[in-house]
Amino acid sequence: MQIWAGFMTALVAISLWGGAAHVFSESVLVASPSGVWAFVSSNSGLLVRATLTTAQNAALGFVWGNIAAVIMAGLVTMQPRAERVVSASALVIFCLPLVATGPILRVISGPGSAPQIALAGLAVYYTTYLALLVGLRAMPRSWSDLMSVYGRGSFMTLITVRARASLPYLFAGLQIAAPAAFLGAMIGEFTGAERGLGVLTLRAMRGLDVDATWSLALISATVAVLAYALVGRIGERLVGYAPVIILSPPKPPTRRNIWPGIAEMVAAALFLLLLWQVAMDVFQLNRFFAKRPGDVVRYLAADADARLTLWVALKETMAATIPGFLSGLLLGAGLAVAVILFPKATRVVLPVAVALRSIPIITTAPLIVLALGRGATGTITVVAVMIFFPTFVACLQGLRQAPQQIIDVFHTYGAGPVRVLGAAQIPAMMPALFASAKMAVPAAILAVTTTEWLATGKGIGVLMALTSTTSNYNMLWSCIVAITLVAVVMYAAVLWAERMVLAIYASEQLT
């Protein structure tokens, strides 16, 4: 049945596509299915080699990134006190713009595929870390009590009990990581790689080769969707079931006294600054491009023009990020609600949404911008699209978590579907929506900087990219700091809004 639905969806999509290509045949935006087929069949050898190269780097990054995630999650589970510092650092490193980290990794590693692998790893470790952190704690209290009774320490508990309890969660995380690794590897190829899908995408975009751009978008989307499905299938085989989990950092216990929280924030910030300084000193990176925290402070303090340039670019970037972020969340939640009201739509919409959320942003961004123009609308749409799908999937799961007994009570009183939705299902969805909003912060920043850099030529993304002609590495590092601070502030704002809303709708979540 599901295969049938998928087949029908694909058929509808292709005929819509063909129709659109016919309508827009005068423009240079939409490739026709026949044009794509011609490109793929006449370049099949090239495309196969490129796909294999990118997939191989993505796979290596996937392995390394996830190993790092497992080590971090294990560490935090054994030493819960370290959690705030580790989690905050992990978030900040995840938010670092790939546009900026790429060239630095290239200089450190020289020629070869190290940057592609490293960027693929960087793209996956955070989601796996979060999933695993939830999983390692998803263990009945009585089990850990039993372990203590037998005199076992936290390490043995981790290995013998927690690790097994966490497997379903690990696989849920790995499933999200698979397409992300592919995207990371493609962006890594922009740093001067010799071959791969990213290199071909670059040429196709520069040459305005629409058939090639669409072919590459389709191929990379297919590979990403297959990777997603494959990891899901392996997980099902090994674990037996897929848990419904919502990726959100576990909430630390609330405290009346805010000072320990502030102290931990300061510790995390100091730790990151130290990491920055020490990493550069250890690798003896040249100060010409590898600026230290002190260099950035001195640069911004001394140069008023630089502060103004940075501020103007940051405003431009935020003018696209915030509307895109909010509309992506609203649309995702809105469609989830619509699907609940019209349950028959689910079978068609859900597989499509799962597939679409795996499509690498760098292949879709230029197409969206081509269609909607280089103004704010194009960028906002890219950000919204990037956030929309994960939000939709999570919100749908959230809506379905509304307890059946409560819904039955409403039905007993003859309440209509809209009433049930407003009073029971939407409150049940709220935690899922906020969890998606938190994960959407880094995603929005990745989307906006990549689009600015590749397509629109505005804002922080392009200011960072300009460094390659001006050698103004002080500005590049200032941009990194600014964009990271923005991410942290947005994240904090989501946390704040979550507390406000959940205090009304789901106070049990705030314990």
């Binding site: 240079v28 370049n43 090239l46 080699r49 490129a50 190269t53 546009v99 790429g102 060239p103 290239r106 200089v107 450190i108 590693s109 020289g110 020629p111 070869g112 190290a114 962006i187 922009f190 740093t191 001067g192 790689a193 010799e194 071959r195 791969g196 290199v199 071909l200 670059l202 040429r203 196709a204 520069r206 040459g207 305005l208 090639a212 690798f283 003896q284 990176l285 040249n286 100060r287 010409f288 491009f289 280089r374 850099w453 590749l454 397509a455 629109t456 030529g457 392009v462 990219a465 300009l466 460094t467 390659s468 002609t469 001006t470 050698s471 103004n472 590495y473 002080n474």
Partner: protein, 331 residues
């Protein structure tokens, strides 16, 4: 892991290891004796670097005792950092980028100049052509805003009021010109116009270098430290380049074919490469190079560069250029 070490230590270790290997196994002198050198190109592989591929393929660098790896550039692969840090011995830059890097503290010298004429051009449709800077008045020009200083310099050199030109921010693609959103584009002589010609769009180009815009392009840069301590390798690398580019001039089509063959994974198209190879000849070879050899520059061309760079807001002196290695290579 070895990549992560400091370059000087790395080169010490690798030469040490090579010496150890040669000593313990008594290897005959040959390919193993060649010095490993990284050469950082400024952009993705294409016939733009055709002479270097010939040097590689024909063994001109091996003859000099060098094993050169050509590292391609890209939109997210700047040239200057690997050269500063010693990861690359030589990089391909341009006089304006080099001047900017030097202003930021990079100890670079320009040691040879591949493109005597700057490749920046104004491309227009032949039905509505821009043949001289004065034709720009009242026209809409599509360009990246970051290139505004380039247009300002052209206007200043030719007494054109830049306020009478409407700048439309576009990305680097020919679509706005073809679809009529703009009247002309600021681009390279050797890429977008070539792409348009291949697609059958009749176009006209005006080379900015023919109207006073003197900025050496595709320049070879090295650090002062390398010039002092790795002179033999630098001269050897330049000798290979000279031989390769002389072959290129003799048969540009062969260079295009070689480029497509050498990089089957780069997605290159032969007709485009052939046309690009022809188009860049007048930029790279002139009476000056005919008389003195590939890569040459003189006090006069340097003075013209210093003047144009000043218009671009880059204050440099003639000491940014160092011809001594090129003189050794041609000797």
């Amino acid at each position: 892991m070895t990549y992560l070490m400091h370059p000087t230590r790395r080169s010490f270790l690798s030469t040490g290891a090579a010496a150890l290997g040669a000593a313990s196994f008594g290897l005959p002198a040959g390919a193993d004796d060649r010095k490993q050198v990284n050469f950082q190109l400024s952009w993705l592989h294409s016939v733009q670097f055709g002479g270097s591929y010939i040097a590689q393929k024909s063994g001109y660098w091996s003859d000099q005792g060098l094993a050169v790896s050509l590292t391609q550039g890209g939109p997210n692969a700047p040239v200057e950092p690997p050269v500063v840090s010693g990861t690359a011995l030589v990089g391909i830059s341009a006089a304006d980028y080099t001047a900017a890097a030097v202003a930021q503290g990079a100890p670079f010298k320009i040691i040879a100049v591949a493109m005597q004429k700057n490749p920046f051009a104004i491309a227009s449709l032949s039905a509505n052509p821009v043949n001289a800077p004065a034709d720009l008045v009242g026209k809409k020009i599509g360009m990246s805003v970051s290139n505004t200083p380039v247009l300002q310099a052209l206007c200043a050199l030719n007494d054109v009021d830049i306020n009478q030109i409407e700048i439309v921010p576009t990305q680097y693609d020919p679509a706005p010109l073809v679809s009529g959103q703009v009247d002309c584009l600021l681009c390279w002589e050797t890429d977008l116009p070539v792409a348009m010609t291949i697609q059958g769009v009749d176009n006209t180009t005006m080379l900015m270098a023919d109207h006073g815009y003197s900025v050496h392009s595709q320049t070879y840069i090295a650090t002062e430290d390398s010039i002092a301590n790795r002179r033999a390798e630098l001269v050897g690398l330049l000798k290979g380049e000279i031989a390769g580019w002389n072959d290129y001039l003799a048969d540009t089509k062969a260079a295009a074919v070689l480029t497509v063959d050498m990089f089957p994974d780069a997605g290159l198209d032969l007709p485009t490469q052939v046309l690009q190879a022809e188009r860049q000849v007048p930029l790279m070879f002139s009476d000056l190079t005919a008389a003195n050899g590939f890569g040459w520059f003189t006090d006069e061309t340097v003075a013209a560069n210093v003047e144009t760079l000043a218009l671009l807001g880059r204050e440099v002196g003639p000491d940014l250029w160092d011809r001594s290695l090129l003189e050794d290579a041609h000797a």
